[in-house]
Amino acid sequence: MVDGKITIALLGQPNSGKSTLFNGLTGLKQHVGNWPGKTVEKKQGSFTHNGMEYIVTDLPGTYSLSANSDEEIVTRDYIASGNADVVCILADSSQLERSMFMLADFAGIDVPCFLVLNLADVAKDQGKNIDPKKIESKIGIPVILMSATDVKKYDSFFECMEKALKDKTKLDYSSLEKGYETVEGYSDLKTIISDGLVEGYSSTWLCAKAVEGDKVVRAKIENALSGEKKASYEKTIKTLDKGALSTGECKFAWIDEILDGSVNKVETSVKMGKFDRAITSKTWGKLVVVLVVIGGLLLSFIPALPIMLLGGCVTMLDEPIRTALTNANASPILIGIICDCLLMCIANTVKMLGFAFGITLVFGMFEESGIMARISYVFDNTMSKMGLQGKSVMPFLVSFGCTIGGASSSRVIDNWGQKILTIALAWAVPCGAAWAIIPMLATSFFGGYGVLVIVAILVVMIIHIWITSKIFGRHLVKKEDRYGIIMELPPYHKPKWKSLLRYVFGRTKDMFFRVIKVIIPVCLVFWFLSYSSIGVEGSVLYKVGTFIEPVTKFFGLSWQLFMAFIASSIGKEGAVGVLTALFSQTGTIFGAVAGSNEAVANSTQLLINNISGPQALAFMFAITFNMPCVVALAATYQETHSAKWTTLITLYYEASALILAFLAYHVGLLIM
C-alpha cells in the first residue's frame, strides 16, 4: 500500500482483455511511461471504489513468465517485488485450456491474487458452460467469470477483488507441485533451494524455472547459494536436458485438472472431414492428391477454351491481311514479317494465355478454398522424406508459376544443402510458360488426347523429382537432417471471387506482355536467318541445321525442333517464336524440308503436317524439362552462390531433357 492507496496489477496473456479491463476501471485517469531502464511500456491508472483509492498497473501482455523477453522479466520482477497488493490474473474463457497457462506459470509466486475469466460472452456463444465456483474450490483464490467490455457489471469484480485483498488469498498449487515431483531433477533441486532464496519466489517456482533452463533464474540461484549447496546445485543442473518439456506437461495437466468438471462444453468435436481423412491416409493420400491435381488441370480447360478459340480467330486474319498486302504490292519480306512473324506470334501468345488463365484461376480457387494447403500437406510429407524441410513446399508451388520466383523463395531455407536441393528439384516443376505452351501444342497435335500428354508430363515430373532428389540429395543433405513436420490445415473457405478474378486477369495480362517480348524478337531473328532470296541452300540456318540433324534425330528431334529446344533455354516461349518463324509460309526452309509448296490454311497446320506425333511428343518433353530460362539460371546462382552447383544443375537438366525426349520419342513410335 502506498499513501493509503491499494495497488492492483493486471496479469494476462495478450488478448486476454487486460487493456479493456484497465480502461473500464480507470476511465481517463491513466498515464503511460516506461519501466525503469527498459523500453517496456508501463501503464498506470487509478479509480476509487467504496471510498478507497486504487492504483492499477497494466502489465505487458506476455505468453508466460519465462526469461524470453524484457517484458516477461519486467512482469515477473514487478509481481514478485510485492509492489502490488493483489495480482489480478486474466484468462480468456473462450480458450481456457490455453490461456490459463499464465496462471500455471505464475503458480509459486507468493502474492495475493484472484482469477478473472474474461470474455465470458464469447465462451457463452461457443456453448461453454463455465462454473467459476468449482474452479475457485480447486485453486483457493476468488474466481470470477465476466466480460471486461460490459462496464456496467463490474460489481462482482469489485467483490472478488475486495475478498482477495481482505483474505490475502494465495493460489493453491499443491497438485501442480505433485506433478513437478515426477520431473527429473526437480526433487533434487528442492532439497537445495529453499523458499525465498530469491526474494518473492517460492522454492517450487524457482526449482521449476531452474529445471526449465531459465538463465536469469539459474544465475540468481547460483548467486544466492554458496559452498556445498552451490556445488551440488551446479552438478544437478548439468544433468538436466529439455526440462521445459516435462514442466510444460505438468502445467497443462494441472490446467486440465482444474477445468475438468468446471467447464461443460456442448461437445462439437471437430471430426476430420472425409477429404482430410483421405489425403492424410498413408495409402490413399498421394493418389487422391494426384487425382485432384489432374482434375484441376482438366477443369482449367473450361475457361481456357474460349481464349484459345480467340487465338484461332487471330490466325484467320492472316488470309485477308496477306491478300490486302499482296494487292498493295508489298514486298514478300514485309508480308513475311507482318503475317508470319507478328500476326502468328500474337495468335500463338493468345492461345498460350488460354491455359495459363485457366490454370491460374483453378489453382487460385484451390488455394482460397483450402484445398491447396491439403495438396501441399501431402507434398510436405514426401518432401521431408527426400530430406527437405517442410518449407521447401513453397518454392515448389511458386515454381508452378515461375521458377525464378521459386528459386528466390528458397531464401527462407536456412540449411545450405537443403536450399540447393530445393532449387535443383524446383527446376523440374514445369513453370507457367510451360503450362501455357504445352497445352497449346498438345491440343494442336493431339486434339482431345492432348490432355493425356499433360497428365503424362505431370507423372514424369514426379518421377523426375524423385530421381533427381536421389542423385543430388546424397551430396547435399545428411540423413540426420531429415525431420518430420506437423501441419495445421486451414479450414475450408469460399473463394473471394472478386479479388481472385482481379488477380487472374492481372497475371494473364503480365504474362501476355512478357511472352510477346520474347517471342517476337526470337521469331524475327530466326525468320531472317532462314530467309534467303537465292533459295534454301542460301540460308545460314539450313546449313547449320542439316549439319547437326544426324545427332538431333537420335533424340527424336528434327533440326528445327532442336533449334526451338535450344531457344527454349532462353525462355520457354522462345521455342514458339522459333517454330513460328521456321514453319512460316514465306520462309524458304519449310519448302525445302517438305519438298512441296502446297498451300495450307495457316502455319499451325503447316506445323502439324510436318512434324510427326512422336516427334511432337519428344519435343514437348524436351522443352518442359529443359532448364527453365536464363533468368532462372541467374536466380539460382544468386541464391546458391555456387558456380559449381549452378553449372551442375544446368548440365543435368539439359542432359535429362534430351534423354526424356529420346524416351518420349520411342514410346511415341510404339503407341502411335
Partner: protein, 91 residues
C-alpha cells in the same frame, strides 16, 4: 500430451496433421495446438506460416521488378491460406 513422445515422432521423420496427431495421441486438437504453441515459445519447434509471400523480384510480372511484394503473383490478402507447419528448430 507427452511432449517427448511428440519430439521423438518428429525426429523419426514422421509427418502428420494436427488432427491426426490428436487422434494418435488420444487427445484433442486444442491440446495439440497449445502444446505446439508452447514448444514454439520455448524454442524447440519452429513455426512457418505457408503462403505466397516471398515473391519479390520474381521477374515474371510487371510489379515484381522494383522489389517489394509482387502483386501480380497473388491476390490482395490472398494466398495466405496454405496452413501452418511446425518442424524441429535447428538449434
Amino acid at each position: 500430451m507427452d511432449m517427448r513422445n511428440l519430439m521423438n515422432l518428429l525426429k523419426s521423420g514422421e509427418c502428420c496433421s494436427t488432427a491426426m496427431l490428436a487422434e494418435r495421441m488420444g487427445t484433442t486438437v486444442s491440446d495439440v495446438e497449445r502444446t505446439l504453441e508452447y514448444l514454439e515459445r520455448i524454442g524447440v519447434l519452429r513455426r512457418t506460416r505457408l503462403g505466397m509471400i516471398e515473391c519479390a523480384d520474381c521477374g515474371s510480372c510487371s510489379s515484381g521488378k522494383g522489389g517489394g511484394q509482387c502483386k501480380g503473383c497473388m491476390p490482395e490478402n490472398g494466398f495466405q491460406n496454405m496452413g501452418t507447419i511446425w518442424e524441429i528448430a535447428d538449434t
